[in-house]
Symmetry: C4
Subunit: 212 residues, 4 copies
């Protein structure tokens, strides 16, 4: 019986539909190549709706969305969550105000992660679009998008992210050779942050091709 | 009662529909990232229909279009106009023949604005597509697309634009780190100018990548 | 009465529909910026269906297709043909086997025309896709795509093209700062040639960005 | 009578539909320019469904899919198979576990084949997306994508591929100036491999434009 579920199934149905519609748009943009990438929305204080492991994201359906708790453990399902689930749930655990986490693999994101892995961040400054990040009201600022080393051990990655979040307030990070994590209070804000990072990384790479 | 409105509501309905259809096409081209960009059409001698602040332009509806007067003040609405409304209305005030103003943020526009902020203009010459600008009948000409410094103070930006328009006849300008403003007598002409600037900036950037 | 027309109006209706469907696809690819580009199909021994001057090609309808004779003069219409009509009709006049002429303005075409205007041609060699050009059966060959100087005088341009065709067998040419003309026995062959030139020019430009 | 056919016609109908839907998506991505590229699915132990020679792949229909045996000979059809059919059937003959072979001509694939023809392979290392290749479980690895010389003699090409497969386990290869062959146990896996190669080649080319 659905009354036995520890979350509201109607809320899940609503969030899964929202996730599917948005993820298909991100897949159409080419940001989820080769069944990569994963996406989540907060259901309540202790549950998250997240895309299951693998699968072509351009064909995602509600059946490809599962529920995990804030430790990343599957709830009332035998589906396998993505190996990277922990990187989503650590954000929901840490910040009550986060409602959505998006992880994509665009070419710009991956290329930038390789180029800036050495310095450990991409400096973005002087762009009007810096105002797209919640809390920013001017282009006369700079944002450092961190680049973390990649690891197949999610505990290692999560520890790096925690150390990062202890040091600074950020709206996203890159993992070297991998892709971008970004988030927001809801899916609209998270997508605005994603589009802004993607755009600004694209500008930086174009400028580097001209050796500026 | 609609008779109390200082503009023709049927004219607004018509223009809002035209604006929505066109803006969605520009958003689909990727020229309005992260809820940026704004767009307007002249309603009559003293009113302009303009997109309200923020919002994903690929989902723009008629409800996202509002009316301002030529000073940029909202008319018969409690919606907030974009901070950049003044850059639209100064053009309608100055030139009775302008019927449409388009402000976009494509990657080419933003990258070009960074590269050419130093010299203060992008020189476009020898291209057949220079004939796309109203009044040009040959490719044997050159156009300087001005690049203005960015500012969060719209009065400062507007004063720069006024000084520019005192000096030269132009169909558009870039703002550094920001994007393009372009205009025309109607939306078809303004889009033709927008497409021509976007194309020519793209060509110039490609040539620079090959160090020509 | 339609019986007074010097061409078969049913044939025109058929060809205009074919042209509209194909041109909209080329416009969607971004190869007709800012109302540029023009396209034609042979109707019979002495008539050609051709897109009228100007207009956004992504919105082309049958009403935007007109008939000219092989001298480029409008037939049974008061529409104005494109200034470049003569560059279409000279091909139909010269080669009875040509059924379609396509003139596009992609960014790759325009950039390549600027880069290779000096040598006067783009050498394409060693590509499997050279087999896409009618008559080629191997990649172990080379094609020189000519680049002609631009002119607003169509008689000058047409004379250059005639001199070129006297010298060599080609399936297309670039005009400096402008775009590509290509052709074939029917619209399918002409599009195959167009796609092949666009692809190969794109490859050459990419290789130049890597200084190879 | 269909009972005379050496393969199951219902199985063919099913596979042809699957192939058409997938090939149209690959064509929409721009990876099949100028009627190039070919695609196949295994029907049974001794038959393969493969796209017939030529034709715009964005308009592929079930009628454009034919059956060949494992020697590449047409079965129960007078259609002409692609000249490259042998490169498909040699894979099905050699590996019972292969269910799908995809051959595409994207710009990235062709450009990479030219750049890396000298060394004879493209080294891909340190990318998270290496995990997209069946059998890989970590980014801490490297894949060498072989680049073979082109030839119009399919026996020569097939012999090169056989020698390659004797030496190493690979999920694809490039042919110089030509394109990519990749495969998998079914169309979903083959497409995942195709998307991963395309993405990783694109990253490598971008990095080379920045001289890294």
């Amino acid at each position: 019986m659905s009354t036995a579920l520890p979350y509201d199934p109607q809320q899940l149905a609503h969030r899964a539909g929202e996730l599917v519609a948005n993820v298909r748009e991100l897949a159409a943009a080419g940001w989820t190549p080769a069944t990569s990438s994963n996406f989540s929305l907060r259901l309540d204080d202790s549950h998250v709706a997240i895309t299951a492991s693998g699968g072509d994201k351009s064909r995602l359906t509600e059946a490809g969305v599962m529920v995990v708790d804030l430790d990343g453990q599957p709830v009332a399902t035998d589906r396998r969550p993505s190996a990277e689930t922990l990187l989503h749930t650590q954000l929901y655990s840490r910040f009550a105000g986060i409602g959505c986490v998006l992880h994509t693999h665009s070419r710009n994101q991956t290329v930038a992660s390789r180029l800036y892995a050495g310095p450990g961040h991409v400096r973005l400054d002087g762009y009007e679009l810096l105002k797209a990040f919640a809390g920013n009201t001017t282009h006369e600022t700079a944002i450092d998008l961190p680049v973390l080393p990649n690891s197949q051990d999610m505990r290692t990655l999560a520890a790096q992210v925690d150390a990062l979040l202890d040091r600074q307030c950020v709206w996203g990070y890159l993992i070297d050779g991998h892709g971008l994590y970004t988030w927001g209070r809801d899916i609209a804000e998270a997508r605005r942050h994603l589009e802004a990072f993607e755009f600004l990384l694209g500008c930086e790479l174009e400028l580097r091709k001209m050796h500026r």
